[in-house]
């Protein structure tokens, strides 16, 4: 890797103009309650101290297995859930300490695309009302203007605008996802969280939607947090990638660098676990033992040590911090791979 690179990806080194969302040590604990009085008997540490700076105009891919906290993390960035601790600075303002009015204004600039194209659209709304809803709420526009904007948006995402007076059930999965995308970009947001936005789609439709997202990003200058478990999709679309495990960020790197040589053993295992569409290459796999431990009771020290093929005594005792291993590369591991 180029040691000569002067530019670093460390958030401290970036000027505030380059960072759109600056996340500082956010935590989200969900209480586990029990009994008649709902006594709190424990906590699920869904997100447990994650810091990250998302730069303006980039696509940041977030990967990890189910239950690692990636969706919760995405929702914290939009204040769809409140943080337990920490700050989310959107253009320098901590969104979790804003008042109701201010937050509402800010919501215009941040939107979300959901995974399930069937569950995320109200079946009783016409498509034009679904796409036009953010306009009705946030803008004082006439019905005619809204309609014109809906037509414009539908064409932008590749839908036949003459079908705007129909209900969602009359559209296919891929088309519904386009409706969700049209709704998300209706207010010209700057930041979009795409939470498994293409995971529910068949491959031939998935590639269409990926192309659309990348086209929109280029045309509208969007910043994406792209949450997914399909690593090949993340590799294709992201500029940088973060890997989460049990509520912690374990590795952050430029996409090329991460896929070429992962530093964290978990990233390496994750990459090798994916079945590649090339036959006769069946041997080079790191199979992890066991399952992801419960986030209510994470292991001591490094959270990955229970499944890590390289775990040593130190890993059981001491939690590794996310530190810069090379310019632009952060890893939380006592014994990172190929660190020399």
């Amino acid at each position: 890797m180029g040691n000569e690179a002067v530019v670093t990806a460390d958030s401290k080194a970036l000027s505030s103009a380059e960072v759109l969302v600056d996340i500082k040590d956010v935590k989200k604990y969900f209480p586990i309650t029990k009994g008649l009085l709902n006594r709190t008997v424990g906590q699920v540490k869904a997100v447990d101290g994650v810091s990250l700076a998302i730069r303006k105009g980039e696509t940041f891919g977030l990967v990890g297995e189910s239950g690692c906290g990636k969706s919760t993390f995405g929702r914290l960035l939009l204040r769809l859930q409140s943080v337990t601790e920490g700050e989310v600075l959107f253009k320098g303002k901590d969104i979790h300490s804003l008042g109701h009015q201010e937050m509402r204004r800010l919501r215009e600039e941040m939107q979300i695309i959901f995974q399930d194209p069937f569950g995320s659209l109200n079946p009783r709304f016409l498509v034009k009302d679904i796409i036009g809803e953010p306009l009705r709420i946030h803008r004082s526009m006439s019905a005619r203007d809204i309609d014109a904007r809906v037509v414009e948006l539908m064409e932008l995402v590749g839908l036949d605008a003459s079908r705007r007076n129909r209900y969602p059930h009359e559209f296919s999965g891929g088309q519904r996802q386009r409706i969700g995308i049209a709704r998300a970009i209706a207010l010209n947001p700057q930041f979009i969280v795409a939470d498994e936005a293409v995971s529910a789609l068949d491959v031939s439709v998935q590639s269409q939607v990926i192309n659309l997202l990348m086209k929109l990003q280029k045309e509208l200058g969007l910043t994406f947090l792209f949450i997914a478990h399909g690593l090949n999709v993340v590799r294709h679309i992201s500029d940088r990638v973060g890997v989460m495990y049990l509520g912690k960020m374990v590795e952050v790197a430029e996409t090329e660098a991460l896929f070429a040589a992962p530093l964290h053993p978990y990233t390496a295992a994750l990459l090798s676990a994916i079945p590649k569409p090339t036959p006769r290459r069946k041997q080079d796999r790191i199979v992890l033992e066991g399952d992801v431990p419960s986030p209510a009771n994470p292991p001591s020290g490094c959270r990955f040590h229970t499944r890590c093929p390289l775990a040593q005594e130190k890993c059981r005792m001491q939690e590794p911090l996310l530190e810069e291993a090379a310019p632009g590369r952060m890893v939380a591991c006592h014994f990172p791979l190929a660190s020399v």
Partner: protein, 339 residues
């Protein structure tokens, strides 16, 4: 040449709907040899799962029916059997695992009881004996502390563990054919890798055949000896795994492989897309069912359905682009030899 364990010929299945009888699969032919893994790949709605339900004759309970064709298993035609006879075959000789491990297990019985149930039913084992065998099976599928796990309920196990239990139930009676319908789709990749490894290991140990249904080309590449690509109810291409990945010939297969973002090479560019979407069942276009989406569509494609052209003796495709190749001939003689 290994014996053909399963031989499906011209299987057409359908569902009665308000709009009349709708075909879910259209004259599909495929065979599975002993010890072989055959993958059915295709997108949602292509008829993969209906095919597996038809083999098990569970389609009768799903509101569908076998309209034509035969399903020869060990030389007997399953399509002609009654449900009484099928009960002896299901679970015993052919077992099936489904996509969602959580919902295929009964939440009010311990996993040990659920494995023991199939042993009691199909192999007339006593309670104690069946429970002991259940623990052995849990050990076989790689569950740690099987004695303890056998006494637990499904909700106490993770998704990957549940899928291992489902596999244990399927293996309880040493089936010759295991039908796995998207067995790893609901699981995380690291757990998927474990389950695929387990299936391969068990296949090597027990010598069973696997019919694996998946939408994931990666899984197919890794598991299959042969691959059949389904589109809108028909098999459009079939061949060895090497043939399908190295020399895909049907435009649909080619498009499918190109649509997947890869792990090597260029990224960030525009992905290949197959225009349009799968036609809804019952509204198939004329001629070749893929022609409205095909970049190579010709006049003949619009009017006439293509037969299977043999690209090599081991690779067939149903596409007019290959009309210079020989047409697949009826292979009924082969079937009779072990009837």
């Amino acid at each position: 040449m290994a014996e053909k364990l399963l031989e499906i010929r011209k299987l057409t299945t359908g569902f009665a709907t308000e709009k009349g009888l709708v075909k879910a699969t259209d004259a599909i032919s495929i065979s599975v040899k002993k010890g072989q893994t055959v993958c059915l790949v295709g997108e949602s709605g292509s008829g993969k799962s209906v095919t597996s339900l038809a083999i098990m004759r569970l389609i009768d309970y799903a509101g569908g029916m076998i309209m034509e064709g035969s399903i020869h298993f060990h030389g007997q035609d399953l399509a002609a059997k009654n449900q009484e006879d099928m009960r002896l075959i299901r679970g015993n000789q052919i077992a099936m695992i489904f996509q969602d491990p959580m919902s295929s297990l009964n939440p009010v019985f311990t996993v040990g009881e659920q494995i023991a149930e199939s042993l009691r039913l199909h192999q007339n084992k006593g309670n104690d004996e069946a429970m002991k065998a259940a623990v052995d099976l849990l050990k076989l599928v790689g569950i740690p502390a099987p004695e303890i796990r056998a006494k637990q309920y499904p909700h106490e196990l993770s998704g990957g563990m549940c899928q291992r239990v489902v596999i244990a139930i399927a293996l309880a009676c040493n089936p010759e054919l295991l039908i796995a319908d998207e067995p790893t789709t609901a699981l995380d990749v690291t757990v998927q890798a474990q389950i695929l490894d387990l299936l391969r290991k068990l296949q090597a140990e027990l010598g069973m055949s696997i019919l694996l249904i998946t939408h994931d080309m990666g899984v197919a590449a890794e598991m299959a000896d042969r691959i059949a690509v389904m589109y809108a109810g028909a098999i459009v291409e079939e061949g060895t795994v090497e043939e399908i990945f190295d020399h895909p010939s049907h435009p649909y297969t080619v498009g499918l492989l190109q649509s997947i973002p890869g792990f090597e090479g260029e990224r960030g560019g525009e992905l290949y897309t197959i225009r349009g979407t799968i036609p809804p069942i019952g509204q198939l276009p004329s001629g070749c069912r893929f022609h409205p989406r095909c970049p190579h569509a010709m006049d003949v494609c619009r009017s006439q359905e293509p037969p299977n052209f043999m690209i090599t003796s081991d690779h067939r495709t149903s596409c007019w682009l290959f009309q210079d190749k020989p047409v697949q001939t009826d292979y009924s003689d082969e079937v009779r030899t072990h009837g």
